[in-house]
Symmetry: D2
């Protein structure tokens, strides 16, 4: 099959022919890829940021935001048949450990992460496991929803954690209106009742955010902090969800959070520095959020099926993988780019 493989860090992916994946475990499923989302994590993988942490052997196929059709099934697969349209939860969790039994797939000590630790979806076919599959309605084109598999549930889980605090009369600041953020705003509009303030450098994205449910839009410049504070009568916001995660967004967030507030961190790269006197005297919380579990992806797809969450995306051929990654790096992708084999 054709695939885009990472051979060397900081070099372009090679578009090349590789053997098709084969079923080796009775619960394996081969998915014919309909679309694979192009993600900031793919940039980080190519840059080698994850090299030491993951230790994945090169070359391998990246791509962890996958949807398509069931192509082959192992002997123990009972809930899917060949041809079924599916979206693929990004990890293969074991289903037997205490974390899996509590629903927390991302905390499975035995997990396999196609596109990060084994071959992923920048290809014609992907090997995953039955437990990772969620059926799609027949009228949904897998390429149109593929980014929900990671960008979508990552936004969903962070918002789902914050939603019980987002009572009527509260305010939430959402930082970064890109791939994750534009989904996050919609999910917050659906799951929560806080007034949404969107923050981004880009006016087009802010306008999109206003269309999608934000009540206020604030440009990310040196007046942003005072603007956010004045939108909240000087008190700061009850909730922040940070899809960016730089030193600056971390520092600014702590300036904009209200007494008793909670800061959800989704984007990463910077360092959060907070005096414990601030943590205590303002009784704030800082909460990391990691991708999302199977049931969260299921719930997100239910919202999508009801037209409650829309994805802004553009399709590209797999041969354009390197070009799309470049556009993403330059901040020129609005919403999400999707590779179609």
């Amino acid at each position: 099959m054709k695939a885009a493989r990472l051979h060397k860090y900081n070099e372009p992916l090679r578009i090349e022919q590789v053997p098709d994946p084969v079923i080796t475990d009775p619960s394996d499923v081969i998915v014919k890829i309909g679309g694979a989302g192009v993600c900031h994590t793919d940039l980080h993988l190519i840059e080698g940021v994850w090299a030491e942490t993951l230790g994945t052997e090169l070359p391998y196929i990246i791509g962890h935001e996958n949807a398509g059709w069931v192509y082959q099934i192992g002997s123990a697969v009972t809930n899917f048949k060949v041809g079924d349209p599916v979206i693929v939860h990004p990890v293969m969790s074991c289903g037997k450990c205490l974390n899996c039994r509590a629903g927390e797939d991302m905390h499975c000590p035995n997990l396999t992460f196609p596109g990060l630790t084994v071959d992923g979806g920048y290809a014609e076919y992907l090997k995953t496991t039955e437990r990772a599959l969620i059926p799609l309605p027949n009228n949904v084109n897998p390429a149109d929803v593929a980014p929900f598999a990671d960008a979508g549930i990552t936004a969903y889980r962070a918002v789902r954690k914050a939603a019980p605090l987002a009572k009527p009369g509260t305010t939430v600041l959402m930082i970064g209106m890109g791939g994750l953020g534009h989904i996050g705003v919609q999910v917050m509009r659906e799951l929560g009742n806080a007034d949404i303030i969107a923050l981004d450098r880009n006016k087009d994205r802010l306008n999109m955010a206003l269309d999608l449910g934000a009540v206020h839009a604030v440009e990310a410049n040196d007046k942003a902090i005072s603007q956010v504070r004045s939108l909240t009568a000087g008190q700061g916001v009850d909730i922040i969800i940070d899809f960016v995660g730089t030193d600056q967004t971390h520092a600014d967030s702590l300036e904009m959070l209200r007494k008793g507030g909670t800061y959800y961190v989704v984007g990463y790269g910077g360092t959060v520095k907070v005096p414990s006197l601030n943590l205590i005297n303002n009784e704030i919380s800082i909460v990391g959020s990691l991708v999302g579990n199977y049931n969260e992806l299921y719930q997100l797809m239910e919202l999508h099926a009801r037209g409650k969450v829309k994805l802004h995306s553009a399709k590209y051929s797999i041969d354009e993988a390197n070009a799309v990654l470049k556009l993403l790096h330059e901040g020129k992708i609005n919403g999400r780019g999707v590779l179609v084999p």
Copy 2:
């Protein structure tokens, strides 16, 4: 009356005669002090750490861990009569704002904090409000429980927040076995089901912690991190409650926390520094905890009434206030010192 007043930062308190407090509001109550706990916050007040934040005019009487007997009541007081033994919640909250209505006294925007923002309890009498009082059983000597009013609920609230995570089979690390910590261990034993690891520099305190419910005791030296990790099969602990709050306890805590874990910060002074990659990849939370509310103090006193939480304390005359503060600063008080007028 006799009182110990702060006249100048970084100078000893003056033990002197001052006018008795008088009732000015129909809901005011004058409490005859039975005992006033001596707290690290008192040291910080004298050092001027809070000077700018609070802006309290000098001189004033410090002391915020108070218990005694009702001495005078305002015309609107209905639930207490003169002579009733009481413990005094440390703040006078308004009872009318949204935070008070949600039970969160410490977040009341209208609060008065005797001993910090107005005259406190290093004295013969204290002015507070009916809403701050919790009745004591007749067989309890107020001086024996006074430190519960702040040290106690501060430990209680942090543990109460952590308790839902402290399921059987989990592990909690509790840092600092002093005034707060020795109460915290007991409250965790009662409210939670995690195995408790106590951490302190002082062997006597560690032995006390083992008596009070800790399962393991670890000396705070350069082997502590590896010891804690080896007690948890290399995984780290599910929960940390840090009653110390220095740069070192903050940094070490992040090394000892398990994937998915939560770090509760109670002590303060240092700065927490955490890369957002760690926050996210390990999906950890960092949670500040501030004193405690009225109902939390009530619950703590119910535990105490059943013999489930004991306070290690020693009584001193109010004339010894400066001497006791010095002992506390030198780490020579085990449990809590209490001033008796």
Copy 3:
């Protein structure tokens, strides 16, 4: 002032002149009534259903869904001034007991309930307490929102309890689309993410429910149970909120509830009969819900201020009180009737 008083059970109210209420406690407030909602509970009061439970001495003024303007304030009132538009939480809670301190006004053992236990709002003036008042925006006419004070928060609290279960992909059945139900549907649309099935005898109300957020409308006849089951693939609904509460809605609800489901009871009059084998084998819960607390009314008014919850109401003169009550009893009021002095 003019008022409508209950002199004898099962007789019309007498519209008559009575003395104005006067301030007796420093926290008292006299509200000039802008509107008073007419409620099924008023019918029950007149019928004597509550006579024994409440033991209120006749004659007295009924009316517990009140809004208006602050007219006089006691000496301890700090947050309101004469002329402020307000909606009145239905009970005067003490603010000092453990239940009040936990935010649960309705569980205050010291509560006074104007319109039930003392004079209410079918009058020109009402005596209540500062703690019962929520400020209204200046552009809101109190008569337009008065029914939120009871019908509104009663619906709000039940939905607020159910909302965490109303995840995307679940289904909620809401029984009775009258005064409470038509608010409840809107609140569920805002707070939850379940598909809403509305059930009522009346087609106009069902159409209104579809306009307000219901996805399916089912007429309350002998096919209703099978229709609801077929809308849920034979499984039954995850959540039921019953605003009617007759023997029939109770029995039917237990037939329509899914394994693991929860049945919220808001309307009353019938008896719930459930074999414990059903409770256990289907692991269902049955949850009563009583009015709502101050913060819930605040949150509802925040939703209203954002145009997220609308009230269908019609205004009548206080002289028409008995006529409006008759219309209500005959099921001829859509939404809510409001008396304006």
Copy 4:
């Protein structure tokens, strides 16, 4: 192998030779039985109470409270090896449905229940699945813990649901101090902080309850209701956990429940009848509880491993199965009877 099979309802089990179970699915495990608890549900199965609901074909082997050693494993089993001591979660859940993914094994639509729907553990060997197994420490004799597999987790889950309400200062009434109840009292002592009132007809059981953590013991006679009310200053208890479930315990419970209280139903047989006026005016909840999930059994075994929950049991030969069932029916078993092959 030797097994006790149900051939006809309301007749004694036949102790006979049957073929050993064989592995048919790659995730199957054959467990050599160390002990099988004898349960009220076994009586109900023999009486045919479940015949229609389950439709299990006769004859089959009953017994659903099993522990032993791994004897044979299927090809996909990875976490256990032959000889490992294990306790067996009572159901084989699919691990793939939304309920399994949320941790709720008992709500799996694809579950198999050995001892109820297929052959169980009154035998030398049992077929189950890897996902049902929890490893035991080597120093634990499986026969000593077998009843935890059902009686234990059923008590554990009900208490675990109630524990967040069991704050210091509250009171819980636990009805029935038999097999489930004597475990429930200990679990409540560990997980909750309410004062425990034990209720039973039998004085020996009440004394055992007092030993295990109850604070008060009340004999189940016509003075019980007034005794419980007087133990709670006439207010009733905050929580009831009913391990009996007759018409009488249901009716009495509603008389003893405090305003705002919750009634957990675990035992079954009677009918709960509650006027909706009571549900609402007292804002009470009635909550069914069904067995327990895998992680709950894991947590219970962690408590047991720390000596925090003890099981009162007596061992019998499998040949005595019918005699033990008779003793149970006559109320002559204290704690739990366990059959050892």
